[in-house]
Every structure is written in C-alpha cells, then in structure tokens.
Symmetry: C2
Subunit: 236 residues, 2 copies
DNA sequence: GAGTGGTCTAGACCACAAT
DNA sequence: TTGTGGTCTAGACCACTCC
C-alpha cells in the first residue's frame, strides 16, 4: 500500500519538491516560488511538465498564480471544514478577544491496553497527557484533554503551554496527515463542569479528534465546550 | 495551426461539453465516454488538450479513468463533509436500519420581519414550514424544523414526506450552491424533548443549516438530536 | 521590453486492458 | 495485437505585469 511506484512521474517529483520546500519554510505564505522556466531548467524537463505540477498545486490551493506576475505560496487555508485544526487561541485572538489558558495536568504515562489499542501501539508505549482549560476574556470556553504519542513529539512535556498551545506546538513537529472526528452533546461530568465553571446539568458540546501523522496516530483529543456559549460553524 | 481566438479555452469547452452531456443523460453513471483520441478528432485539437479536460474532470470526481480500458462517468457522490447534505433517511438505511418519519406540521406562511431578513426576502414572502421527526428502528433520532423558500420549491406542500424526505425532494428541485452551518449543544426545549421522547433536561446536539441555491436562500433548517444517541462524525 | 503565466501542438514512448 | 490512458517534449503564440 505504502510502496512508492518504481518511477515517480516528473510532474509529481516537482510537486513533492515544492511541497517539501514550503513545509520546510524555504518559501513562506505570500512568497514567490521559482518560475516555470526556472523549475524546468532545474529539473531538466519541459515547461509543460512544470506547468502541470504548478497548476495542480494551484487547484489544490497550495499556490496562487497571477498571470504576468508569478506564482506564490497561498495563505494557509484555515481548515475549511468545521473541525478547526486551527488553534483555539488563534480563533479567540481573531475575534479580537484575549486568550488565556490554565494547565491542569501534564504527565507521561505508559499506555494501558485500552490506550494502546486506540493509538495502535504496544502496551507500555509512552504517552503524554495534558489537560488545559482555555479562556476567552476570562470566561472558560474549552477543556482540552489531550493524549500525545511520544514517538512524534519527544519534548512535549517541556513545552510551555501558556504561550504556545499544544496544537500550535504539534503542528510544527508533526505535519498533519489526516483527521477523524466526532461531535456529540453530553451532560458535563462533574470534573469538567468544575473546570468550565458550569453546572453539571448543563449541556456540553464535545469534539473528539484523532490526528494522524507519519502514518501513526499522533494525538487523541477530547474537547469539552459549554453548550451555552460555544458552537462550531462553517460553510462550503 | 490556426490559433483559435477562443474566449473560452479549448480544454474548457471540452469539459463543458462532457458535463453537459452527462447532465443531459447521454452517458449515465458507469458509462464510458469517448476516448481521448475520439474527442481530439471531434474537437479538432491535440490529444494533450483533451487529456487536460478529462484529467481535470477526473480530479473533480466527475469521471473515472482506467488505464488501458477507458474513461467512465463516476458515481454521483454526495457531501463527504460532516454536515451531511445526504438525507438522514439514506444514512439510516446505509446502516442497515429502518427509517420512518412522522410529519408534525406542514404549512405555508407569510414571512414576518425576522424570517424575511433571514431569507433575504421581503416581508410577506411565502415560506413553507415543516416539522418532521425521524426514527431509526423506531427510536427518535432527529426533529427537523425546516423553512423553505417558496420561490425555489413551489410544490413543497404537496410532497409526501413519508416516502421522500424534504432533503431528497429539495436536492432535486434546487441544486445546491452552498451551505452555512453551526452546531451547538443545548438543553432540549419541552416541545422538542417530547417529540424525541427524552427528558427536557437532556442535552441536544443541534445543527443549524442554511442552504443557498440559484443565488437565493433556499432553506433554513434546525435539526435537533438527542445528545445521548447521536453524533456527527467525519474525516479528512 | 523582459519576464511571467495560459494555452496549445504534433508528435513520442510507455503501461495496461481487452481481445 | 489493438486501443486505451499516462506521461513527456520542444517548441509556439498570447495576455498580462512590472520595471
């Protein structure tokens, strides 16, 4: 399944190259990437081959092209879909509000059977666990209960989650491959209700999310939101 | 050769042609469309130009290509994203369960100011209103409270919503242009709780959705789900 | 005017499917 | 073996942007 074809087409190699360099930060959002002519020379292929690579990346919204001007790295697409990979801190700040977080737990633990199964690792595999409460203008809006695969984020424990959220840190060290999620409404358990400063009879909007990176399960997160003051929105 | 002063590029004309013929039913799902060589001859263009048209339609999931075999019309595929435009009936049946619905209200009404604003129409504009409860294996899973723009679905009131859900009907008469949605968790109001056969203290997962079609607001729907037995899931 | 992307050609060789 | 798609070339002309 994961076997690479014996021969990768030239246009694909160019796409891979561009994606790699963008990921590596060689060109940042808004920067111009090399012209078709330059890439054609660099890869020793015809311009049409480069054109295909760049055109496809453009249709994938990785690049923007402006005729007569050049090709540029597109703005990172704020996850179009509902389940924002975008950090909650960013979201709050985007609304012009103040974001603050409280770290309630940060630990390392050997996976028991249940966790090991969820992460598709062996029992005993080291996992990191953090519990953080996020505030918007001093009002609690999210409890983030996160499990992290140590194989993908060795120094998770030494992070300072007050200035940089786990999301922001993990996006850096483990490029996202895919996401599974589910959303449900439940009554808040006492522990969660306390952290959110709501009654345990109140409805919570709960987002479960599992992210994959480098063909492993990277994180499993449960986010609890007070139903009365939080909602997911989106459009397409 | 004679450079075409084409306002529309040749590859785009070929895409349009194929889309039109598929829409018209010339080729149905699974049917083979003409080969690249045949299209090149028909449009008097080079094979590469046809290739681009067909390749793009393939990446748009309109067509499937099988090397050595041919190009085929793909299966119509519905919204992959979370907020399924897919009807709940279809979803339930896909799980191998029985779907049943109860019509609790079906009426025509002149928009008051609030509704008129939401629909971006004048006050007094005719709107249709339906309230339907959906059951999965005789367990209530959704209350669907729907407002419909009469301009886009004149015969909404004469539909038999037991055999065909509003969703299914509307998808036919008003091709979807876009969707806005939000999801929240709330305590069930008494009227909703009764229809779902839950306690009014229970958490409900509520999906608000506004669809656009033909540059108008087509429908505004609120879907109430018992939090304990319903969740949204997805991946990307 | 130089540089960029947008499009197109008329061939070519290959891998794969159907026969 | 024939027909199909998959890829690629080495040019070309055009529209547009930027200097």
């Amino acid at each position: 399944m994961a076997t690479t074809p014996a021969v990768t087409p030239a246009f694909q190699m160019i796409k891979d190259f561009l994606l790699r360099e963008i990921q590596a930060g060689t060109w940042k959002e808004g920067d111009a990437v090399p012209s078709e002519a330059a890439l054609a020379q660099q890869f020793n292929v015809s311009r049409m081959t480069v054109n295909r690579a760049v055109r496809e990346l453009t249709s994938e919204q990785i690049l923007n092209r402006i005729q007569g001007s050049g090709t540029y790295v597109a703005q990172q697409k704020y996850q179009a879909t509902l389940v924002a990979i975008k950090s909650i801190a960013e979201e709050v700040r985007a609304r012009g509000h103040e974001h603050r977080s409280e770290l309630h737990e940060l630990s390392s633990i050997e996976a028991n059977e249940s966790l090991a199964e969820k992460f598709q690792v062996n029992a005993g595999h080291i996992l990191f666990h953090s519990v953080i409460v996020h505030f918007e203008n001093e009002i609690a809006i999210q409890v983030e209960d996160r499990w992290v695969n140590s194989a993908l984020a060795q120094d998770y424990l030494t992070q300072n989650f007050i200035s940089k959220t786990p999301n922001e840190y993990l996006m850096e060290v483990a490029p996202l491959q895919g996401v599974d999620y589910s959303i449900e409404a439940v009554m808040a358990p006492k522990s969660i209700a306390d952290m959110l400063h709501i009654s345990s009879k109140d409805a919570c909007l709960v987002l479960h999310r599992k992210t994959r990176s480098q063909n492993q399960i990277a994180t499993i997160v449960t986010m609890w939101h007070p139903g009365t003051r939080y909602q997911f929105t989106g459009s397409f």
